[in-house]
Point group: C2
Chain length 334, copies 2
């Protein structure tokens, strides 16, 4: 739970991203077919489609989601002080998002929009074979702009962490640049997750420019970093990013992670997992673990191990947020 004293003090991480509520409900294959959905895929839908689909869904479970939101949840589970910036609308799902993320101890005060599209949601239909069919309506979250970047929050946070998915919209891009400028002015650090190889592909040049000029800590998986530099091998991408970024944390699924920071390079193995159930959120939790260690002043290799432990928890169950107290899990594994 947040309290006034904590809100006034220093923050470890400020996360900026899409405010999305995940709405999960059971369904069957016949219903998916009737709704014209391709099982196992993610589709973007508009407001009307979202309302219509939600009306047809059975009793659902709602939980705050979104990439940077998941990272914030991981940070809270690691007892790392964090805040979140992202836009909801003043509607029912907006209330759920706000309540949910605050209740896990994340400081969240972005004012809800009083007009425009409703709160973003990802409507997830789960079939008996455990597959998830996702329909995302980005809604109010797409209107995040520079005015939403609270100068005081950026100044209080050791690291401001930005979700690359937002890069698709000009207003959000302007918000990122404002956050980066404010952080630099206060000697604070800027971190970016590349989020998605297709997103990188759409904005390669501006991403590269932002990475080179503003990012202190870059998170990317293998597909994203090879896309960023348009190279074929991981090692080629590694050589590029080493020259561009103060710290790069590159995740490689079962191959673990590679950390580079100037002369320092670490090759860290993946944590063992009995069985991989759902890889959604692995990158978000790696970032949470890494930043948790980093803001506590741990060595880079240890930060990567904490990231790996957090990721190993989330891929062992359905859902992109931790189901156990990550701080305890990390203490038992390190």
């Amino acid at each position: 739970m947040t309290d006034t004293a904590a809100q006034a003090g220093e923050l470890d991480v400020l996360c900026v991203g899409n405010s999305i509520v995940d709405v999960l409900a059971q369904t069957d294959d016949a219903t998916l077919e009737k709704l014209d959905m391709v099982k196992g895929t993610m589709a973007l839908i508009d407001a009307d489609q979202a309302e219509a689909l939600y009306a047809q869904m059975s009793a659902a479970i709602e939980t705050s989601g979104g990439s940077a939101g998941n990272t914030a949840a991981g940070l809270a589970s690691l007892n790392t002080k964090c805040a979140f910036i992202g836009r909801v609308r003043d509607d029912q799902l907006g209330d759920i998002f706000t309540h949910d993320i605050r209740s896990i101890g994340v400081e969240y005060a972005t004012p809800a929009a009083t007009d425009g599209p409703p709160t973003a949601r990802c409507l997830i239909l789960i079939t008996p074979d455990a597959q998830r069919t996702m329909n995302t309506f980005l809604g109010a979250s797409v209107n995040l702009g520079p005015e939403d970047i609270d100068e005081d929050l950026v100044a209080r946070a050791k690291v401001t962490y930005l979700e690359g998915y937002l890069w698709d919209r000009d207003a959000a891009k302007a918000a990122f640049l404002r956050a980066a400028g404010l952080a630099a002015a206060k000697d604070r650090l800027v971190s970016l997750s590349l989020s998605d190889p297709f997103c990188v592909d759409r904005h390669r040049e501006s991403f590269r420019e932002f990475v080179t000029n503003h990012v202190d800590i870059l998170f990317a998986n293998e597909d994203e970093i090879t896309s960023l530099y348009q190279v074929e091998s991981f090692d080629d991408a590694l050589q590029h990013v080493r020259a561009d970024c103060r710290i790069a944390a590159l995740t490689r699924s079962e191959k673990g992670s590679v950390l580079v920071s100037g002369d320092e390079v670490h090759v860290v193995d993946a944590e063992p997992v009995d069985s991989v159930v759902d890889t959604t959120g692995a990158g978000d939790q790696f970032a949470a673990g890494f930043l948790s260690g980093f803001t506590q002043g741990k060595e880079l290799a240890t930060c990567a191990r904490i990231g790996g432990i957090a990721a190993s928890e989330v891929i062992a169950h359905v859902g992109p947020r931790p189901q156990v107290k990550l701080a305890d899990l990390v203490a038992s594994r390190l």
Copy 2:
């Protein structure tokens, strides 16, 4: 084939190791049981045991073997000029070893011993399930000493490559130190393969001293390098070896390889293999590929890729030496 002109010129690599003839024969499970052998293992045997076992084996295939010998064969297959130093006895298997290694184009002139134990052999019994049960008699190869290190060969070779297995005997250790001293005096490079984690375990301190003071290019797999530094994680070993060695090439099986040389670090993926049949000789061929590229002035990441290609060929079939012309394979893959 070697010729006089080539022998007089510069060499790329001089390999120093055990001169072992592999003797392969088919057998059945009942025979293994009768001979009291544990299927799939390697045992050291003495001269009498070796003679008795050989007498009982069915029609066999003989081929020059040994770790550094396999590397020499790989280098020859890569059109890389190389020589080999290792001791045989003036007996039938010694003739086979000498003929065999010369016929593939490796310069080999270590005088055969005229007394002492017979030529080393590894008697390999292959059961119908494709398992190999090995019995190694080190014979004449254990008597390699400083006097066998030909000063002229060391001076002619860009790199002198030493097989760690020899480190078990004081005379061979003295031979290594002499080779390292001669190489250093001529501005030539010294390379060492750690060969085996148990060998590292037996001689950790002297290996470390040799690595720190004499080795320019170190080859080790994950078990060997973590044993050398008595650390648990690969990354910890990586940090140690980076400080100790001019170039370290660390092999990680399906995880590929990691190359470190001062500020330079490369993380190179393994080459794809349809099916792994027999991993014997993977490290030897990686070293061959790497040194082939290195002595041609290729970049470290390219050297590692050539090593990976050579290793991928040898693990796809039974036997520790290439079955295709590696130079052609590399040309088609790079």
